[in-house]
């Protein structure tokens, strides 16, 4: 597959609009609508699959995946704090974004596998949900310790009841409860339209990404380098973990993609609450304006090669 998936072209169109300052206002309400559809669709798909064939090793896999998320956040923190000389708050906040995952990147990975005709394990969507959480908690501990300053209850609320995790989990539960047959009437909206909705979402992300590109100039080459190198290294780590826990080629590609991706839904909201002194522009510039485009344009094909090579 040499050419770009057309959904990725929508991201490129959004970036072009942003850079050219085209008058392409997408109302916030439409962003909310499109991202809600995306999250529900992904969750429901995962739920249906989970209900069909549940893995006997699920608990062990989940443990490995959670450990990976924590390790990635720690690794990112060490690099940013000691190599990059970021202050503690910012290093922790950025680390939380990179240990966590991006739903948009995952969806592009799913579309990539779909086009290539490669299947993957149903539990990948569970991993997607699960990986949103540990890195955020690690980030807060790194920034503030376990001291009394942190309102843990509020933070957990923010994470689990933020729209991202909540809609994914809700979709998962509905898909699981209703099963393939039960959802038949819903598939025109949640299955057939999935790629179209993803295209619209990527168009918006392209526009939003360019809003954050200005952050570049101000925050320097260091952050940009991190945002380009981290996905490759984390993607490779993710691929190795996926291979080690016995995932198929497709599952390995997606776990690498998750590892390589940086959150821009759950993590930013949680960090703003829990580490307010961290500058949100740093994380968003890195995650959205650099790593996200890198991953969907270059990264995913690369992780696919790594996965094939590991499984060869």
């Amino acid at each position: 597959m040499s050419t770009l998936d057309p959904v990725v072209l929508f991201f490129v169109l959004g970036v072009a609009a942003g850079l050219a300052r085209a008058d392409l206002r997408l109302p916030p309400a439409i962003y909310d609508f499109v991202s809600m559809l995306l999250l529900l669709s992904i969750g429901m798909k995962g739920g249906v699959e989970l209900a069909r064939h549940s893995s006997s090793r699920l608990a062990a896999e989940l443990a490995a995946v959670i450990a990976m998320g924590m390790a990635l956040a720690l690794l990112a923190f060490i690099v940013l704090r000691y190599l990059g000389r970021f202050d503690r708050a910012n290093a922790a906040a950025i680390a939380a974004h990179y240990g966590s995952v991006s739903v948009g990147t995952f969806a592009v990975g799913v579309a990539y596998l779909g086009r290539a005709g490669i299947s993957y394990e149903p539990q990948m969507i569970l991993f997607l949900v699960v990986l949103e959480v540990p890195a955020i908690l690690i980030g807060v501990v790194l920034a503030r310790g376990f001291g009394p300053g942190t309102e843990w209850g509020r933070l957990l609320h923010e994470v689990f009841l933020g729209r991202g995790v909540f809609l994914l989990l809700g979709g998962l539960a509905i898909g699981w409860a209703a099963g393939q047959d039960g959802l038949e009437g819903l598939s025109p909206l949640f299955v057939d339209l999935f790629k179209g909705v993803l295209a619209l979402f990527l168009l918006e992300m392209g526009l939003i990404a360019t809003e954050h590109m200005g952050g570049f100039r101000r925050h320097g080459a260091l952050l940009a380098t991190f945002a380009l190198v981290a996905p490759v290294v984390f993607g490779a780590i993710g691929a190795v973990v996926g291979f080690a826990i016995g995932l198929s080629i497709g599952g390995t590609v997606l776990l690498a993609t998750l590892a390589a991706s940086a959150s821009y839904i759950a993590a930013p909201a949680a960090m703003r609450t829990a580490i307010p002194q961290a500058n949100p522009a740093l994380s968003l510039t890195a995650a959205l304006a650099i790593s996200f485009p890198f991953n969907i344009l270059v990264g995913i094909p690369l992780y696919s090669r790594i996965a094939h090579w590991l499984h060869a």
Partner: protein, 101 residues
């Protein structure tokens, strides 16, 4: 036609704070307030975007001078250093002063 006056405090800040501010207001004993959506620019850069992380809200609170002072003091301590926030204060005439302690 002269009416009694109260303080109108107007606050422009990050949309993500709406929920927290609501709680703060209630803890401060303020049970009348109005929110609306806004976008803009200030010392923390442009905040005018499609997505929630980069939007503003506009909060208006009508109350007496003492409560206004407590509100402002609270905002200053809790949010000023770390969040995009601007506020201003006016005297306005009201019709039913008993509604706005």
């Amino acid at each position: 036609m002269e009416h009694p006056t109260r303080k109108l405090v107007t606050i422009i800040t990050e949309a993500a704070l709406e929920r927290d501010l609501t709680r703060d207001l209630e803890l401060l004993g303020i049970d009348g307030y109005t929110f609306s959506d806004a976008r803009g620019r200030g010392t923390r850069g442009r905040r005018a975007s499609t997505w929630e992380h980069n939007q503003n809200v506009r909060l208006e609170v009508l109350c007496d001078a003492a409560l206004a002072a407590r509100l402002i003091e609270h905002l200053r301590q809790r949010y000023y250093d770390d969040y995009a926030m601007v506020l201003w204060l006016q005297d306005v005439e009201v019709l039913r002063p008993e509604k706005f302690r």
